[in-house]
């Protein structure tokens, strides 16, 4: 365990940890340590997030005025397509699982590493190779099909780099499958003595659910891309009706993966938020089993609702009604989570550190994202709303308001563990609030725009929509500042930050019972778990008296 100075209360950085165990490039590129792999993922997804963010800024600037004056329409089409592809396939899907999940799941269950460390490294390489193909396609001239690649536009009409980017997504899918597989095997086989299924942190449950979706869903997108390639390159008639195909078939296949992919993008966020709310309220999570099983329910029902993306696409109206019904059912487990998180705060001892601000922000934004999902599940209303800005606003509330906010909350929460350093609380809180305000200002006006009838993917729009677009662009600038700030103060903390110590918030999770940063093998002695999940009292084995005494003398963090 890390030593602490008796008088100043300052922590010594552990002499040997995963960061300084090998300093050569080779020791990083050939590592089997899940923590190093997670760190390399962190840097990579951040780069993709930055690129996607630049595209987003260009979109918002273009939409400041009704005419397509900043960009030509063709360029605009590429920009929104590439924004979507980078953000979804190369940022959102790997973000929490590949970075935080990779880093934390073995530590949280008391294991030395994932069950298949080499496979984990392979999945990182596949992600890099896939990303390189996509970036190569972007640099050659980009792609303009929309991230949905709808046929026959993508197979017969588009003259852009569909194949390069498609290949990138295809390869990247295998990275996702291997990560999911690894998590499933790890949770089944690597739990420490005493770590029963119902002592698992809910973060692990959420990742278990999401891994099922990754393993079962991702092959379908791989097949879909392969069929698309077959038609585009070899002119085999699969989707294009002029050569005997069916364009609706593509939509069924695409959404059979891409709807569950929405849950790949939000379930891990829910897992993070369960951790944040419970730990910063110092209260056992309310309804543990309900939150755990609602993740599984979302994963299962998530596979049955793909048709709600196709209400107006030409499928039978009765199929539409069935999908609408199932969509309403899948809303219930999300509602259950929401109520349980709220109830967890009841009679807690709530502290408002930066991660908790993100956690509460998530609850507010996800509430709106979830409720507007009901609007879009109400089939008669969706006939009007689909393919408008209402949809754009809704999925940004779920994916940015949900996953990205949770990801940032998680990064702030586990930053002391990952790096061993504390960041500036002051700037952390400011950025959390800027993100919240900027986000709402950006996307709330888009709900109104959508009901007004402004279609999505429009480079130019009628002038009466301008006022709300100006609000949205103004909000986006606030949001951009909110997103850039953590990049600055987190990097700053690496050099000038205070040593965090093993457990800055005195929390019971296994990850807080090893040094920060942890040693390569995670724990110096293999842990034995004798406490329940989210056990904040004396049974947790934490020396709370001592911590309180020290806190009274020199408040931590």
């Amino acid at each position: 365990m890390q030593t602490q100075d008796e008088i100043t209360g300052e922590f010594q950085r552990p002499k040997l940890n995963y960061l300084n165990n090998g300093t050569t490039l080779k020791s990083w590129l050939l590592t089997k340590d899940h923590k190093r792999i997670a760190l390399m993922y962190l840097i990579s997804v951040s780069a993709f997030f930055m690129m996607g963010g630049i595209y987003a800024s260009i979109i918002r600037l273009e939409l400041l005025t009704p005419a397509s004056d900043l960009l030509e329409t063709g360029t605009y089409n590429k920009v929104f397509t590439q924004h979507g592809i980078l953000m979804i396939f190369f940022f959102l899907i790997p973000s929490i699982p590949a970075v935080l999940g990779n880093f934390l799941i073995p530590i949280m269950i008391g294991a030395k590493d994932l069950a298949l460390p080499r496979v984990n490294l392979l999945s990182l390489y596949l992600y890099w190779i896939g990303g390189s193909f996509a970036l190569w396609g972007l640099m050659q001239g980009g792609v303009d099909t929309g991230w949905t690649f709808y046929v026959p536009y993508s197979t017969t009409f588009s003259n852009t780099y569909v194949m390069a980017v498609g290949l990138g997504i295809f390869i990247n899918g295998f990275s996702s499958i291997l990560t999911g597989l690894n998590f499933i095997v790890t949770v089944h086989t690597m739990r420490a003595p005493g770590m029963t299924w119902f002592r698992l942190p809910l973060f692990v449950w959420a990742h278990y659910a999401v891994s099922l979706v990754m393993v079962l869903g991702t092959p379908v997108i791989a097949i879909t891309i392969l069929l698309m390639a077959l038609e585009r390159v070899a002119h085999v008639g699969i989707f294009d009706p002029s050569i005997g195909g069916d364009p609706i078939l593509f939509q069924h296949l695409f959404w059979f993966y891409s709807h569950p992919a929405v849950y790949i993008m939000v379930l891990p966020g829910m897992g993070v938020v369960s951790e944040l709310i419970s730990n910063f309220s110092r209260k056992k999570i309310f309804g543990y089993e309900f939150i755990a099983f609602s993740s599984i329910a979302i994963a299962v029902f998530g596979f049955l609702v793909w048709g709600h993306h196709m209400f107006v696409s030409g499928q039978s109206i009765y199929a539409g009604m069935v999908f609408s019904f199932l969509t309403m059912v899948v809303a219930v487990p999300s509602a259950i989570k929401m109520f349980n998180w709220t109830a967890t705060m009841y009679k807690g001892s709530i502290s408002y550190d930066t991660p908790m601000l993100y956690g509460i922000g998530f609850m507010g934004l996800f509430l709106i994202g979830g409720l507007t999902g009901l609007f879009l599940g109400a089939i008669g209303l969706t006939v009007h709303l689909t393919d408008t800005y209402f949809v754009v606003a809704h999925f940004h509330y779920v994916m940015v308001g949900g996953q990205v906010i949770a990801y940032l909350g998680g990064i702030h929460y586990w930053w002391p563990k990952i790096t061993g350093k504390m960041y500036s609380e002051f700037w952390g809180k400011i950025s959390a609030m800027l993100v919240f305000v900027g986000f709402n200002l950006t996307f709330f006006p888009q709900f109104i725009l959508g009901y007004q009838g402004m279609p999505r993917r429009y480079a130019a729009y009628p002038p009466e929509f301008q006022v709300l677009n100006i609000f949205s662009t103004a909000g986006a600038s606030v949001l951009a500042i909110g997103f850039l700030m953590p990049a600055i103060y987190l990097i700053h903390s690496l050099i000038w930050g205070k040593e965090a110590g093993p457990n800055p918030w005195m929390l019971p999770g296994l990850e807080w019972r090893t040094s920060s940063p942890p040693p390569t093998e995670n724990f110096l002695e293999p842990p034995v778990v004798t406490w329940e999940a989210y056990e904040f009292g004396e049974d947790s084995g934490l020396d709370l008296e001592e911590a309180r005494r020290r806190a009274a003398v020199a408040p931590v963090a």
């Binding site: 588009s158 309310f286 006939v383 393919d387 130019a460 309180r548």
Partner: protein, 359 residues
């Protein structure tokens, strides 16, 4: 519609079911508020009341409550079911065209909407419709997916190559409303749109008479059938004819070789022209050549209109949903469309001109 300035929160209500969609929207807003207030209030109250008073305190444990879990599972479920039922009801109205509707044919192509009225008038990126009449659009596309969207009517439907989709509405308020393409279709997607004009019946009649009508779809179809494509040489001639009888078949069951039956609807007729050997009528031989590549989407619609007229069917026929039609086999024009001149086909233009010179 306002030209600039503040956006009203709602687009105009200009169709018979627009109010139902708006009502559903209001209901969902109320539901959202009813759920949001207690949750947000609880978060705020708890956040203030139970804020940390002592560092690393250990509040009393609460494990959960079955009664509460049951309540907050059951209530959202019931509420979501009311939303589902309301949505399904409105949706059924939106996507079930009435039988007595006036029919307009719409063909989408990159990047324009082409419409043809029953009386033969054609228009591009505009649609003139009479007030208070039920109107059904039979739509297809020459190239990629498009979506016909009129916010003021609160309805839209995708337009899919190789099949027919349907949209109907009854305009209730005269005016000029946006027409958008709502499914991304390439370079000039945001420019693919125009206006829908809802006019009083007499203004609509004036508009019709002020426009060169050319041939009606039925006349054009007859022309194609009898002379241009020569269908009549096999499909007319009484009991001895080589091709299947077309009189009176529309909307009826047709028995096929192999014993199966099929309803002779738009999709069936389209398929029989483009891929005749795939559905042979019982008692006939597969001798008909394909007309794939020889007829345009608009000519196909005219032929369907003519075959319908042989059964005494004018105007709309019962169809349901945006895509009641099963996938027809092959669309002729996808690849050809790229090279074709943008406006109407040559034959249509020629016939319009001859109609003008006759006048």
């Amino acid at each position: 519609m306002q030209a600039s300035g503040w956006v009203p929160l709602f687009p105009e209500q200009a169709s018979s079911f627009a109010w139902q969609v708006d009502l559903l929207y209001f209901y969902l807003i109320v539901v959202s508020i009813v759920f949001t207030i207690p949750i947000v209030l609880a978060i705020f109250v708890f956040a203030i009341k139970y804020r940390e008073k002592e560092k690393f305190a250990t509040p009393e444990e609460i494990h959960g409550s079955m009664a509460l879990e049951a309540t907050w599972s059951f209530i959202p479920f019931v509420v979501s079911m009311t939303i589902f039922l309301g949505g399904a009801y409105v949706f059924y109205n939106q996507y079930t065209p009435p039988v007595d509707a006036m029919e307009i044919y719409v063909v989408g192509k990159q990047w324009m909407w082409k419409a043809q009225h029953e009386t033969g008038q054609r228009e591009i990126n505009e649609l003139h419709v009479p007030l208070g009449r039920k109107i059904k659009l039979t739509m297809t596309t020459e190239d990629v997916l498009h979506s016909f969207f009129i916010p003021a009517f609160r309805t839209k439907a995708d337009v899919v190559p190789g099949r027919y989709t349907y949209l109907w509405f009854e305009p209730t308020k005269p005016g000029k409303y946006h027409l958008f393409c709502a499914e991304y279709c390439g370079l000039n997607h945001s420019g693919m749109g125009g206006w829908v004009y809802v006019m009083e019946q007499k203004d609509y009649d004036n508009w019709l008479s002020g426009n060169a009508s050319g041939q009606t779809p039925v006349e054009q179809g007859k022309d194609l059938f009898e002379t241009k494509l020569g269908c009549a040489s096999c499909h007319e001639g009484g009991p001895a004819q080589r091709g299947a009888k077309l009189e009176g078949i529309y909307g009826k069951q047709v028995k096929l070789v192999g014993g199966s039956t099929v309803v002779a609807d738009d999709a069936y007729i389209r398929n029989s022209i483009l891929d005749p050997s795939s559905q042979i009528v019982d008692g006939f031989s597969p001798i008909m050549p394909t007309f794939k590549g020889q007829v345009t989407e608009e000519q196909l619609l005219a032929l369907i209109a003519y075959v319908k007229s042989l059964s005494g069917v004018t105007g709309s026929t019962p169809t349901q949903g945006p895509g009641a039609a099963p996938p027809a086999a092959a669309n002729t024009s996808n690849t050809a469309a790229v090279n074709r001149p943008p406006a109407n086909t040559t034959s249509n233009r020629a016939s319009t001109q001859s109609a003008n010179s006759n006048r």
